[in-house]
């Protein structure tokens, strides 16, 4: 069982949403296996994983569309595991938006309020207020097929938020939008959430989406949550090879522990032909087989040999990708192993390397991450 505690950024007190040993089986296939999770009030929590990892199933269980095979779901202190979706204080924004095609925008947004039996005047007021918040005033009488993709999404958002749910679930919210729209919508979503204070749970396969939106991320794989943490935690301190590899790009090498002290470790890596010195301790048995992860942007290239013997390598540039704001280099070591290096284009007069140039690579002792799983 993976019981994961939030490292930082969570509010004190009892969690707002609590999942205990949540499991979903379809025949022999385990879509979600014994997931336990705590989400704080007002958080934006993101479930990140590739397709088929079970994140959508988990979301649907939160919404009430799938009944868990085992485990329980608690929202604001109430066990809602067996509560049907139409009685849960949870609302969802669907990936396809699911706007009712035979109703106008106003009718769509008002739908949830009408199910509650809210009075007509109050409905009209709240619909107007909500549409203003998503910048769709004047669109009340339009039908969904008369709207563009971005507008439809905002209607879907308005419809889900107008009931002021305790929990808002978003299924791949930015997936259908093009890049420019996506950036704009990312900021709009976060602003809206801060204004309303609703707890968001987002499901996505897009790391950038997760990193931008979430206050905390849960990385999922094969029905299990591998690691929960803030975007910084996940990126800078991945707890496993998978997580390190999944977020951003990474150079991953195998090694054996040479020295294991509380203040530092030294690892020998045959693939690198040098020793790696890391300035913090790890918890692992002596001579353990570990993996060392170094992010491409943490490696520096230079023409001259840098001082020191740890964390220093020689190689030659074999690949260059110029991206405008940065340049990605592929550097090959004498033993054939290749490392990825990302160098920001800080100034126009900075030295750049060409194909075949011999270079020296080095990194700071705090940069590598030692992974034992």
């Amino acid at each position: 069982m993976h019981e994961v505690q939030p490292r930082s950024g969570a509010t004190a007190g009892s969690p707002y949403v609590r999942l205990e040993g949540l499991t979903k089986r379809f025949g022999d296939f385990v879509a979600v296996g014994q997931v336990s999770l705590e989400i704080a009030r007002g958080e934006i929590f993101c479930l990140l994983g590739a397709s088929g990892c079970g994140k959508t199933t988990l979301l649907r269980m939160l919404a009430g569309f799938e009944t868990p095979t085992a485990g329980s779901i608690w929202i604001d202190g109430v066990d809602v595991t067996q509560v049907p979706p139409y009685e849960r204080p949870v609302n969802m924004m669907f990936q396809s938006y699911a706007l009712f095609p035979h109703m106008t925008v106003a009718q769509n947004v008002a739908f949830g309020l009408r199910q509650d039996g809210t009075g007509k005047t109050e409905i009209a007021e709240r619909v107007r207020e909500m549409l203003a918040m998503v910048q769709l005033e004047g669109y009340e009488k339009r039908k969904p097929h008369q709207l563009s993709g971005g507008q439809r999404q905002r209607v879907a958002l308005a419809r889900a938020l107008v009931k002021r749910p305790k929990l808002l679930l978003l299924d791949e919210p930015l997936g259908a939008l093009d890049k420019k729209l996506r950036e704009r919508t990312q900021f709009e979503l976060v602003t809206l959430q801060e204004k309303l204070g609703v707890t968001f749970v987002i499901v996505t396969h897009d790391q950038e989406e997760a990193m931008t939106l979430a206050s905390r991320i849960g990385v999922m794989r094969a029905g299990e949550i591998l690691q929960v943490g803030t975007p910084t935690d996940i990126y800078e301190f991945p707890g496993s090879r998978f997580v390190a590899d999944f977020i951003g790009s990474v150079n991953m090498v195998d090694g054996t522990l040479l020295e294991d002290e509380p203040g530092h470790v030294r690892i020998t890596c045959p693939q690198l032909d040098c020793t790696v010195y890391v300035d913090h301790g790890v918890s692992a048995p002596p001579d353990a087989a570990v993996a060392v992860a170094i992010r491409p942007e943490k490696i520096q290239l230079s023409r001259d040999r840098p001082p020191g013997t740890d964390n220093v390598l020689a190689g030659a540039v074999v690949g260059i990708a110029y991206l405008g704001d940065a340049t990605r280099y592929l550097v090959q070591l004498p033993n054939g192993f290749q490392l990825r290096v990302t160098a920001p284009n800080v100034s126009r007069r900075e030295e750049r390397f060409d194909h075949g140039d011999p270079v020296w690579l080095h990194w700071h002792a705090s940069s590598p991450v030692v992974v034992t799983r």
Binding site: V90, M92, S96, F111, D116, A160, L181
Partner: protein, 280 residues
């Protein structure tokens, strides 16, 4: 993409449509023929409307038509109700016990020869006679509903399959109970299919002869039964008149349906243009 218009396909199209329509047109033409020998053209007295007036004065035909109409209407309504329930079950319920059998039961009436279904229904009604009384309009309606339902299911299920499940889930998520979801979301979206199914069932019942002959009783003569017994003896001009009227009604209905569909397509294009015109 270039459209290669094959002369073979074109000529087959023409031949096919001619094949389909020449008999119908011939019936219409001969309905205006004054001669009682339908196909021998009496140029002296034709064209004439005498057979049409005879048709409307023929009480037997009028009664039979009225009965057929009532049976067809009741049958269509019943078939659509049962069909919607069955289509919903087949489309939305993943697995249930007896699903295979149910699926078979809903397809078979459409396909099996009518003598088989007619014979079996008659035998059932004979057994049930103490319960439901003599055979007549009721048994005919029941029999018709049984096979109409099969067709209704095909039409409605096809449409139901295209309804996005997430629409129903969204409605539930917003607080609507399952029955409300069906009434407010699903039903409006499958309404066109339900209407088509009603019309289809109506026509099937209106037109049916074999099953009706098996399950009818004395005093319940439907229009097809009347026509059949008459034409067994040979061609008859008032039947031609009847045929013309029916073709006219159907053509008008199809024309209206076609215009409605075209209008809807145009509106959809216009709406898409509005959406495109809008910014993000």
């Amino acid at each position: 993409m270039h459209q290669r218009r094959s002369w073979f396909v074109l000529s087959m199209l023409c031949f096919g449509f001619a094949f389909l329509y020449v008999p119908i047109l011939s019936m219409i033409v001969y309905s205006f023929n004054a001669s009682r020998l339908v196909t021998v053209w009496d140029s002296a007295h034709s064209p004439t409307l005498v057979w049409y007036s005879e048709l409307f004065r023929n009480d037997e035909i009028m009664d039979a038509a009225g009965l057929s109409f009532r049976i067809a209407a009741v049958n269509a309504t019943g078939a659509v109700i049962l069909g919607t329930l069955a289509a919903f079950a087949l489309e939305r319920f993943r697995r249930f016990r007896g699903r295979g059998l149910f699926s078979l039961l809903t397809t078979a009436p459409m396909v099996l020869p009518e003598v088989i279904t007619g014979l079996s229904l008659l035998l059932l009604f004979v057994v049930l006679e103490p319960l439901i009384g003599a055979r007549g309009a009721t048994t005919i309606t029941i029999a018709h509903m049984t096979f109409s339902m099969a067709y209704a299911i095909v039409v409605i299920q096809a449409r139901l399959a295209t309804v996005d499940r997430s629409l129903e889930e969204a409605a539930m998520d917003l607080g609507a109970r399952p029955l409300k979801v069906f009434a407010v979301i699903t039903l409006p979206l499958i309404a066109p299919a339900i209407a088509s199914a009603w019309v289809l069932s109506f026509i099937l019942s209106w037109d049916d002869i074999v099953i009706t002959s098996f399950v009818s009783g004395p005093g319940s003569t439907t229009l097809p039964q009347y026509v059949f017994s008459k034409v067994r003896l040979g061609v008859s001009p008032d039947i031609n008149a009847l045929a013309t009227i029916l073709v006219l009604i159907v053509s008008v209905a199809v024309f209206i349906a076609g215009t409605v569909m075209m209008r809807r397509d145009q509106r959809r294009i216009r709406d898409a243009q509005i959406a495109l015109g809008a910014g993000g």
